[in-house]
Amino acid sequence: MISERLKQSQEIVRRDFYPHFAWIENDAPPFQLPAKPVAQSRVAYITSCGLYRRDTQLPFDAHNHLGDPSFRELHSDTPPDRLAIAHTHYRHEFAEQDYGVVIPFEHFRQLEAEGVIGEFYQWVYSFMGFLPEPAQFLRETVPILTQRLKQDAVDAAIFTPC
């Protein structure tokens, strides 16, 4: 059952962006027990905060009322000053002060050096999470990225929204 607060936000999204919007209510999720500890795992980081490389990539279509289902790949060596945000549904002031709040490249390198994780996967996948109609994203982008992650023997992934 969705909360009263979610019902209110659902009405706002319907009024302002997409009249057919509805929160998705799922049954129990898929669930795997780990075959090996995180300390021996290749770990990916995936974020919906709309980050892209300002020098080599086009921004997301942040003003589209249905969202933008595409993705950007960011190498873990990307200098923070090459990053930008195309996402009009959150305030960028925190990320602009410190990109570590949304894309923690250095943090993962530290965790790898400490042995908390086995290895930090070299690609961060970024998308723009405002997707009131997520069907195309789920049909196209998610399977493509899942295939890449499987081919590259990624064991685990941490997700952050904005």
């Binding site: 209510e25 129990a28 999720p29 995180v38 002060q97 949304v102 943090h107 405002f130 998610v142 904005c162």
Partner: protein
């Protein structure tokens, strides 16, 4: 807020394909609706999912908690509150 739904949906698909996932979300009610495989609830403002800017200890702490859930969660949909709090 649809950001939180979007990552939860992606995580469910990835987990169903054999890659273990933790979502770091700020909204417990969205976690309850979307039901990601594992969720760390960190009640931070939108735009700062890993914590306050400039506070690397908290940002690292959130990642440590999220990674630990991969090792320790024993049931589908497990949700754990973060020990870290927002400050300015």
């Amino acid at each position: 807020m649809t950001c939180q739904q979007s990552v939860g949906l992606f995580a469910r698909y990835l987990e169903g394909n054999g890659i273990l996932t933790t979502c770091v979300l700020s909204r417990e009610d969205l976690a309850e609706a979307v039901k990601p495989p594992r969720t760390l609830i960190a009640k931070f403002p939108y735009g700062a999912p890993l914590g306050p800017p400039g506070d690397r200890d908290i940002q690292l702490g959130i990642l440590r908690e999220a990674l630990a859930l991969i090792d320790t969660a024993s049931a589908p949909g497990e949700r754990q509150p973060s020990q870290h709090r927002w400050h300015t």
